[in-house]
């Protein structure tokens, strides 16, 4: 018994260590970026294009981690994650503009936080509404329906018009004739958005997301979610309410995506619904898969690397997306093809045999001596 308790504690610390490493990487990267931004060290500076990518990188990290909660931890393939992002973006923008218009709120940090909370709340609401029908389906059917919902959200947003007149908010559906100052203009999207998103807030959102997701995974609820992923029927027979926990993962993921969306929306002066196309959902899914399904740290790293990669590939100019596609295919083949896997395994055993043989030979020599 005593021995087991010790191993139990060791396991806890192992998980804790892994989580701490993830937090550590994020904090270190943030500090490094701050250093580069300050330009205090000669020759260690950030290019303009990369500077512009800082907030999007934060957004994509949050998107990837939150999607990993659905795809990796809960085991449901969602192809409509950008839909939640867009709900968050537009509700966040409207909230931010309304705060200015109604309360003359000038504090940008507070406005940004309130906008992100609003974005998260509305995306969560959308997550509940979509989750109820979607989570009844399984596998590829679920995937196609999430895709469908993502497209529906985009289409509906294309028809929405918002305008502000003092503290009054007007909403029009397919009706552009609204009183006051128009802030969201149907297919033209939100224009004249005040760019209040900051890298610091992006960093804070990443930490918040990691805190929520990692703590959720290592709790009673998280284990129930993973149990359902591993074996739904067994989980049911253990008395676990499948709908409840699937919903919990799905809605949490939607809320986080909504918050990321609000941050993203407030980083540009113009935001249209077409920015949150199906391609964006796929892009985030690629981050999740390349980072490792269910591996949160992997998602963080993959989202960062793959957002920077096209910037780095700028040297290839026209060929960069082509190279990106080839990199994607080659990485997938290299990590999943049994042929390559066996080859690598063989190399590894051969190397192990070699070193062992070497050691043995040395040992014999020692004996002889």
């Amino acid at each position: 018994m005593r021995k087991c308790e010790v191993t139990g504690k060791m396991k806890m610390s192992k998980k804790l260590r892994s989580n701490l490493i993830t937090y550590g990487i994020v904090i270190a990267a943030f500090l490094l970026c701050q250093l580069a931004l300050s330009g205090s060290i000669e020759g260690f500076k950030m290019s303009r294009s990369l500077k512009g990518q800082l907030v999007p990188i934060c957004v994509y990290i949050v998107m990837a981690v939150s999607l990993n909660l659905t795809v990796g931890i809960s085991g449901e393939l969602s192809l409509g994650h950008a839909g939640f992002m867009s709900v968050g973006a537009f509700s966040g923008i409207v909230m931010s503009s309304w705060l200015v218009s109604a309360f003359q709120m000038e504090n940008e940090t507070l406005r940004l936080i309130l906008a992100m909370l609003t974005g998260g709340a509305f995306a969560g609401l959308a997550g509940v509404l979509i989750g109820i029908p979607v989570l009844r389906l399984r596998g590829d059917y679920l995937a196609i329906v999430t895709l469908a919902f993502g497209e529906i959200i985009r289409n509906v947003l294309n028809c929405l018009y918002f305008s502000l007149d003092g503290a009054n908010l007007y909403i029009g559906f397919n009706n552009p004739n609204l009183p006051g100052k128009v802030i969201v203009n149907g297919p033209m999207g939100a224009t004249g958005v005040s760019k209040i998103a900051t890298f610091g807030m992006g960093f804070a959102l990443i930490l918040f997301t990691l805190f929520v997701v990692l703590n959720l995974i290592n709790s009673r609820s998280g284990r129930a979610i993973m149990a359902i992923r591993d074996n739904r029927i067994a989980a049911e027979s253990m008395g676990i309410n499948v709908t409840k926990y699937k919903m919990m993962a799905f809605v949490t993921s939607a809320v986080l995506a909504g918050m990321a969306g609000a941050l993203y929306g407030l980083n540009f002066s113009t935001v249209t619904a077409s920015k949150f196309r199906f391609d964006t959902s796929i892009l985030v899914l690629v981050f999740v898969v390349l980072g490792g399904i269910g591996n949160i740290r992997g998602s963080v790293i993959a989202a960062t690397v793959l957002t920077i990669l096209p910037e780095v590939l700028r040297a290839f100019s026209d060929y960069r997306m082509l190279v990106y596609a080839i990199v994607l295919i080659v990485v997938m083949l290299a990590t999943n093809s049994p042929l390559l896997f066996n080859l690598m395994e063989k190399c590894r055993t051969a190397a192990a045999r070699f070193t062992r043989g070497h050691a043995k030979a040395q040992g014999k020599e020692g004996d002889a001596a």
């Binding site: 795809v71 393939l77 029908p133 009844r136 389906l137 399984r138 590829d140 059917y141 995937a143 196609i144 329906v145 895709l147 469908a148 919902f149 497209e151 529906i152 289409n155 509906v156 294309n158 028809c159 397919n174 149907g186 297919p187 029927i233 199906f278 796929i282 899914l285 690629v286 898969v289 390349l290 399904i293 026209d318 060929y319 997306m321 082509l322 990106y324 596609a325 080839i326 994607l328 295919i329 997938m332 083949l333 990590t335 999943n336 093809s337 049994p338 042929l339 390559l340």
Partner: protein, 294 residues
Amino acid sequence: MITFLSYLCSGISLGSIYAIIALGYSMVYGIAKMLNFAHGDVIMIGAYICFCATQYWGMAPITSVVVAMVVCTLLGVVIERLAYKPLRAASSLAVLITAIGMSYLLQNSALLIWGANPKSFPSVVSIGSISLFDGQLLISGETIVTVLANIVIMIALTLFTGKTKLGKAMRVVSEDKGAAELMGINVNATISLTFAIGSALAAIAGVLLCSAYPALTPTTGSMPGIKAFTAAVFGGIGSIPGALIGGLLLGVIEILGKAYVSTELGDAFVFAVLIVVLLVKPTGLLGKKVHEKV
């Protein structure tokens, strides 16, 4: 009433194109159990090849369609061999991401070769339109050819999978690969054949799509591809009549939705109907119900 009929006609025409693409999706899904996201881009490649054949190489429309089919067939088989075959034992997500990578690859190759500017695709259909009700209802030649092509393809494929040895092999492989191998069926060849047929159909669909909607760009295929996949799921994936019904219904719903509800919401309407159908019948209209053994 006449306007309704004319909308219905264009709906059926669009639906027939969806049905042809959906067939390719459905067959590939049935046999390889994968969402081949690159399928939509094979459509685009087919259209570009046909465009080049008629515009640059001076071929007759019929020959250029055949050339497009041949190129796409080869393309489909090569894609399968290079990218999907090594992943047959891998998780379905890995295959999905590879297919997405393949889709990016095709789109960006097309972008490099043909540029981003839309090409005005010349219709390959030379027959004139039929006018009914004293010229109030005009059915275009493209519509007629599309619907006819759809019917011919459906019949041919039904006969092929039902009567021929190769077609039966395809059905067996989609049911159980291991058992098929034990029965002496060459599984790899059968899967390649499926990709070949699906890609040839994609070429036809691409030509018909661009004959009806002439602007051809590297992303022409992606949205019809997604909608056709939706149609395949709608009708019950893996089923030939399902693809036909799903495609036709989707096309009609889309056109009528755009005409009578809202242009902006046409696509939303299509996807909403899909969701409703899947909730009522989780495996699509003609899909088989699968029991999970406990």
